[in-house]
Assembly symmetry: C2
Homo-oligomer: 148 residues x 2
DNA sequence: GTGAATCATTCGAGCATTGAACGATATGAG
DNA sequence: CTCATATCGTTCAATGCTCGAATGATTCAC
């Protein structure tokens, strides 16, 4: 019983394949957004801003699951590119509220295009049905994780 | 036309969700194999050895997509745990052939169990059908990448 | 008002990974 | 046979990414 699984049990596992493919996908995406002067985390921050418009850096840190000090660095660079604006919240002047600029939205669009290009490259060997089912499942799976 | 995609285009993307979930899955898996004194890459090396039994460190480096010097460190630690053996290839004494020991196979089994536990935790909100379809799609997708 | 808590920021540290050297071995040309 | 060249494994210093602690400004509770 105990070694019926025996051979290749790890490779049949979801977390293992997710980890491997996730790293691979990130690398391909990173290679494309590099041309825009961005790292994947920059794109993640832009996407988070686009989704829940106007948030304090603290909120963004917990949303993205990274340290607040990392948000500072990312926001610095995005601000230098003119993609985001830092505005002190008048109701609580400790908070820096980040907002997407028009240029930031354009940049995000180009990130999305890069991601879509990487998608088609990555899923070249899948049927259209598989591809859409996969996208849907991953989306719901992602929404379920640490949703609070 | 250009901004029809507009909102949330990145979050609808495969590479983006794969990257996010991949990191999350790796973290959960890492938390569990840590009890075995291993990092995910150790488990990856064990799995690679189990799959294509007996390989030189150079081959393993290209298989796993990491630098040869990293294989040295991983193999050192696994050897210290008695999980792998280093044997000089008699036909080419530059090569160190790595093989799984019986203990290494047991360790790999425990890694697989950890991965399965992480799987069920991760996919708690999915139907059984979704789960198996996802596993299958990821498996085929992984086999298609850099197959050469 | 005064002290505790919260936000953004800076800075040093930790960890994983890489790339450049090096010694040992193998291979091919002359 | 011998020498030049290439390959393997190994060591080591350097890089990049991320975090945690310390700091200053601001707010909140009482």
């Amino acid at each position: 019983m105990s070694d019926v699984k025996g051979a290749a049990a790890l490779r049949a596992t979801l977390v293992f394949n997710l980890g491997t493919l996730g790293a691979l996908a990130s690398d391909r995406f990173a290679a494309r957004v590099e041309a825009l002067g961005l790292k994947p985390k920059h794109a993640g921050l832009l996407a988070a801003l686009d989704a829940g418009s106007a948030a304090s850096q603290q909120e963004l840190a917990t949303r993205l699951g990274v340290a607040p000090s990392l948000i500072v660095a990312l926001a610095d660079q995005l601000q230098e590119l003119g993609a985001v604006e830092r505005v002190r919240d008048p109701e609580d002047r400790r908070r820096q509220v980040l907002t997407l600029t028009a240029g930031g939205r354009r940049l995000l669009t180009r990130c999305a295009e890069a991601a879509e290009a990487a998608d088609t490259e990555l899923t070249a060997g899948l049927t259209e049905a598989q591809r859409t089912t996969l996208a849907h499942t991953l989306r719901t799976l992602g929404d379920q994780q640490v949703p609070h």
